[in-house]
Structures are given as C-alpha cells and as structure tokens.
Symmetry: C2
Subunit: 163 residues, 2 copies
C-alpha cells in the first residue's frame, strides 16, 4: 500500500467501543485485534509494531508480528488508529483520537507531543502563505529543541563567547 486510506479520526473511548465500530463494518473482534487495542488504549505514547507483538514486554500476551501489522493497517483504515514516523526507526502507532501532533528534535531526538489546537495558529500561517494545510500527525514538525539550540549557541561562540 502506498497510502493508507485517509479516514476521519474515529473516537472510541474503550476497547469495547472500538470493537463495536469494527463490527459495524463487518470486521471481527479476534483476540489478537483486541490485544492491539488494549495496548493502545493503555499506552502513554505511540508504540512500534514490534513492541505490540511482544505484548509490551510480557505485560500482555504476545502475537505474531505480521498479524500485528495487518491489524494496525485495518484499524487505520477504519480510522481508529494512526501511525507516525518520529525519525529513522520503525513507524509508531497510536489511537487516532485524541489527535496528537508531534515536534521532534533532530539533534537529541526528544519528542514533544501537543494537542492539535496548539498548532492551529501556525497552521493558519502556513495556510495563508502557502495554501497548505499543515499536519504534524503523520510526520512531525522537526527541528532543534530549546536545549539543543542553546547547546549549539554555546559551541559556535567558542571559548570566548559572551564577552
């Protein structure tokens, strides 16, 4: 698949609600699928397929990696799940709602997750200037975080900076 079908984020506030959404589309609630949903509902941040397959280090039963990928794909088509690329590593998956957007530091790889609204003002600027509606859900906004900006400022000045 080149582009996963873009479905509007589907709000489900529990595994059972999500399962219901699946059933409405003729999809089934297998054990493996429930496990993925349970993990995502309990997660703090986005998770890799591998961690999901390993049952979050044993806290949940493990399942087959290929099935996890297939389930994530299905859940994404339905609109329950999103994946994000926070760098060069594997893609990371999370519930589609609530919608998070991400800022990632190119230098130290710190990830800051923010609510969609926090970026609305910037989205407005981008729309005005380029006609583009920016989304930082699938690919994050990448740059230098405050700490790394400071660090690079210190280095570039050399030992005699701030005279």
């Amino acid at each position: 698949m080149t582009t996963t079908h873009r479905s509007p984020a589907l709000v489900a506030d529990s595994v059972e609600a999500a399962v219901e959404a699946l059933r409405e589309r003729g999809l089934r609630a297998s054990a493996a699928r429930r496990l993925v949903l349970e993990a995502l509902f309990g997660a703090e941040g986005p998770l890799s397929a591998e961690r999901l397959a390993e049952g979050l280090e044993g806290r949940l039963p493990r399942s087959d990696l290929a099935s996890v990928y297939r389930n994530l794909e299905t859940l994404e088509e339905v609109g329950l799940v999103r994946h994000v690329h926070l760098g060069h590593g594997p893609g990371l998956y999370a519930l589609a709602a609530p919608e998070h957007e991400y800022l990632v530091c190119e230098s130290c790889h710190a990830v800051r997750s923010v609510a969609k609204e926090e970026l609305d003002e910037i989205r407005g600027q981008v729309l005005e200037r380029f006609g583009f509606e920016a989304r930082f859900t699938h690919f994050p906004l990448v740059g230098l975080c405050p700490d790394c900006i400071e660090e690079s400022r210190d280095h570039e000045g050399g030992p005699n900076a701030h005279p």
Copy 2:
C-alpha cells in the same frame, strides 16, 4: 548510523569545486564519487540512491549501489549533500547548497520546494510558541496541498453542498 554528522552546508558551484573541498579533507576524487556529484549538480530535484546507481536511467555510467550510499554518506558528512525523506519511499539526496525546504502533500504526494527564507516567518512563529527551531530540510512540512484541500471540501459537502 543514527544521525549523520550535521555539517554546515558547504557551497560548491561545480563538480570541480566540490572535488576540491573533498581533497582539502584528504578524501579522493574517484570516478564513482564524481558521478554522484555530476548527477546532483545536473538534477532538478532530489534523487534516490538507486537512481544515482543506475546512472539516471543510463544518461551516466552506472555504479554500485553500496558505493553510492557510502559516497552519499561521505558527501553528507563533508556538508556537500543533504538527504530528505519525502514520504514512505527511499531517502532522496541533493546538494546541500542552495538550501531547499520542502512541502509535501499527504494526499497526492505533490512536492513543493521552497527557498529557506520563504519559511522564515513561520519558523519565527514556531520558535516563539514552542522554542523549537523548525527545519523542513530533512523531513518536510507535510499537509494538504491547495488542490487536495479543495477536493476534500467538495466531497465533504455532498451533492447538495453550496446551496
């Protein structure tokens, strides 16, 4: 490699100037290396390692893919080359100077390349609000392009939109 060394963009206005920069660092100007540089100097947009290895569909002699990757890495360390990830495909490589930043449409995958300065105002907003110094050189600004915004507007309204 997790992170390629961040070197300041090195300005070279010709293959020979680039070769000179290489020699200054004790690096050699092999045929394969020159080919990569020639291709990049002649290119309109960023190119994949694979296209480079194939000599741009035969317009240049072809070389080994592994060597192309090694050369791109070297050139990137020196600061002559940058790579950008414009989606799910392979990374794409271009000369580091002039500095381009990219806007990519998540829906139709259209790529708009803009000069760094065009994004300075937005960079300023992001810095003010989040303390982040945004860079759209390595990962682009992703969103919906004007055409796709319009298209999604048409669809969401249904057949009786615009009454």
